[in-house]
Structures are given as C-alpha cells and as structure tokens.
Amino acid sequence: MTARRFSGRLWWRPNIAGLLTMAACGLAWELTIQAGIFDYQYLPAPSAIIQGVGELATSGELAAATMHTLESVFLGWAIAVAAGVSLGLLLGFSPLLRRYSLATIEVLRPMPAIAFVPVALLLFGFSIQTELMVIVLPSLWPVLINTMGGVMGVHARLGEVGRTFRLSRAAMLYKVFLPAATPTILVGMRISLTLAVVLAVLAEMVGNPEGLGYGVVSQQQALRPDLMFVYVVVIGLLGLALNALLIGVVSVSFPAAAAELKGYRP
C-alpha cells in the first residue's frame, strides 16, 4: 500500500492494482481447475481448499493442530527471549565476557536449525521437547545479538548524562540503558518470533508428528492436496497474526518503540 503525500483528499491510496491482481490470480486458478484445462491432479482449486477448511474445522483437527503449534511457538519463543535478553545484557555490558564468547557465537550461529532435528529425536523422541530443542537455539540468536547490539549502541552521551546526574548503576540500567536499547531489542524479538513459527513447523514436519507442520506432511502423504493447502494457509496466517499481535502489544506498552518495530520488515 503506497501513500502519496499530495495526491488528493485520500492521502493513503489503497493499492487497487495490487488487490485486483491477486483477485484475478485467484479467479484464474479457480477457473482453470474447474474447466479442466489444467488437469494437475494434485493442484486443488481455491474452492476445494475452502471446503477443506470446513472439513478440518468440524473434525476439530485444525483447532488441535493450531493449538499445538501455538504452544510450541510460545514456549520456544519465550525461552529464547528470556535467555537471549539475559545473555545479551550480560554480553552487552561486559567487554570481558564478550571477548570470551563472541567467537563461540560466530561458530554456533550459522548452524542450520534443521540439523538439530535428528539429535532432538534421538534425545526426546516424539514429544514437544523435540520441537523446543529445534526452536530455541536458532531463535535465541536474533534476540541475543540485538540485545547486545542495542546495549552497546546506546550513545555515549546518554551514559555521560547518567554520570552527570550521579545515577546509581541500577538506575542507569533501568532509566537509561534499557529504555534506549528497547527498540532494538524489540526488533530482535520480532525476528525471533517469525523464526520460531518457521522452526516449529519445521520440527513438526520431520520431528514431532503433531501440529500444523505435521498436518501439511500427513495430508501430502495421504494425497489430500486440498487439506494440505488448508494447513499451508493457516500457517501463513498464523505467522502474520502473531506478528500483528506482537506489534499491537508493543504499541500499547512501548508506544515510542512501536514505530521502529513497525518499520522493520524481516
């Protein structure tokens, strides 16, 4: 949606062209399947997908799967945020600790999340802990790095202001550093949330057979493409919804930081 400054009373112009394109694509998809032109056995028409929603909703499968994934995401994300913020703060304030840990972080960070799945399966079998093991570590990095960077990036001037007013260490932390670093930390948390959703789905696809990720794979193996796409769409919507929720909560509790958060596109 682009906004043009001087283009008329409606300064925010809805993207008609964009919406029409999407509608046209959806329509074209539907019609080509119906007309049998494109007889791709495993490509369902949008109408079939919508019907699939009804089917899965009534059987309660969709709700159960969604709740499970939500549970993993929230737990994993919460742990990652707690650990990431604490470690990030420690590292942000202590050059000594940084010297003794940055290299480790640089080595561990590029590890592909999916490589943890077999290890997690080995240790925890088919359970939510498997998912958590896959989610937590990679989700931790954005929070840690952003917290560390946020603290380190607080302008020297602010530190000097604190010292001029002879604030105690605790007061400096609480009144100066944390608020100044908050926008960056929140961006890290948002990246982490998006990542957590992807990782939860990933872990459910190859690890723990529960939740939306497993739904996608199982419907694929059952050769029910219509139901498979239902899960795909729900996963997409879930990501968007959680993001919007986070922005909403932040807007209420940290209005100043919310502006920077909204501007960020992962």
């Binding site: 791709y40 592909p112 799945v117 077999p118 080995l122 696809m205 795909v232």
Partner: protein, 267 residues
Amino acid sequence: MKRGELGAFLRMAAAEIPPARGLVPLLALLTLWQLLAPGPSAYFPAPFEWWSAAVLLWGSGQLLPAFAATVTTFLEGLVLAVTIGVALGITIGTSRPVERALGPLLEFMRAIPPPVTVPIATLLLGYDVTMELTVVALSAIWPILLNTSSAAAHVEPLLRDVARTFRLSTARWIRQVVIPAVVPSILLGIRVAIPLAIVVTLLVEMLTSLPGIGALMIQSQRNFQSAQVYALLVVVGLFGFIVNDLFAIVEAIVLRRWPARGVFRSG
C-alpha cells in the same frame, strides 16, 4: 584487485575475526562432555566418539557422496535463485505499475515459510532431483527477489534527475545506475538466502530420503547410531559456517568500491 589492495584487505579481514579466546565456552563444553561421558552412549556419546563415527562414515564411502549430493543441490538451487531472483527483481523494481500490481501477491507468497513449500512441491512434482532443485530455488529466491526489487524501486531519486539531466537512455539508466546501485541489496539478499537454501536442501533430503547428508542423518537417527548423528551435526555446522564466511569474503570483495564497511558482520 591490485597487490597492495589485497594485502590491506586481508589485514582488515583478519582484524575483524573475533578473538580466539572466544572459543573457550565451546571448547570447555566439549571437554567437559568428554570427561563426564567418556564412552559411547545412546544419548550423549562423547566427542571422541563423534570423530570415530565420522572416520567410519568416511571410510565406508558414505560420507563423501552424501556431502557432494547436498552441496551440489545447494549450489545449483542457489545459483538458480540468484539468476531468476535478480532478473525478476530488477524487472519488477524498475516498473512502478508492475511493482504495485505484484506487490501484495509477492507479500502473500513470502508469508509462506520455505519449509512448507517442500511437501507442496513433493506432491506436485514428485520425488526426484528436479523437485529438490525447484524447492531449494523457490525458497531461496524470496529474499533475493524482494531485496532486489525494493532496492531497484528505491534508487536514490536524485540519481534519476542526474540521469535525465545527462539525457541517459533507459537502457543505460538500468545498466549503469540501477544495477550497480542494487548490488549491495542483492548481496544482502543472497546472504539471507544461503542459510535458507541449506535448511531446505537438508529438509528435502530428510523428508524424501533423496541422497544427501540430511538423509544420512535421519537414517542414523532411526538406527540409533547416536555418535553418527552428532558427527553429522558437526559436519553440517562446519559446512554452514564455512559457506557463510566464504560468502562474507566474496561480498566484501565485490563491495570494496562502496563506502567503507567491514568484512565479517554479525547480525
């Protein structure tokens, strides 16, 4: 690059490597592990066991082919994603009507997590290397395409005026201003795409048991060969680490003309 430049560049790169003592936590963990659980174990085999398992895999001729398969898929998929992503990105970005029309559609497709595209592709395209390549390319293309089109659409407006005052043709505008201007964004997109491509490659191998490290890992896990699982974890980790750093160096070399920046960046 001139000889003096290369030396200066390497010095700059070396200065950016975090101090080696930063590896202490990792080494401490491994040492502790080795001391507390010195032998083979179903859940926590010692690090030396991982090494033995790795040597075994190498000797039995399993490791190399699997590694080669994974790397090949990854590279081919990435190259595909870069070529198509850049071409499409520039086309979309330089045409405002096209960008507005396709914008929401692209956003919608971006919201689908890459791993999810794997079952879809498996269903539509079957269980073969073509599908694997398609999926990897499809996942990796988004950051590249979106970064490129966004950068192309947001080329410094003043440069547009400059191009017009010098009466440059559209072809020259795109070739000599837009493309160089978007190179940093393209590289950023590739940097994001690389871990995605690795994950999706491994994911496909795990789901379909097409040859590769991923398949090997799942197989080891199912056979409860725990040391092998950990060994392969290390292999994958090293691979990811090396690829990322190699690309960081490539990126720094390409961008040496741009205003000064470091070689390795965290975050």
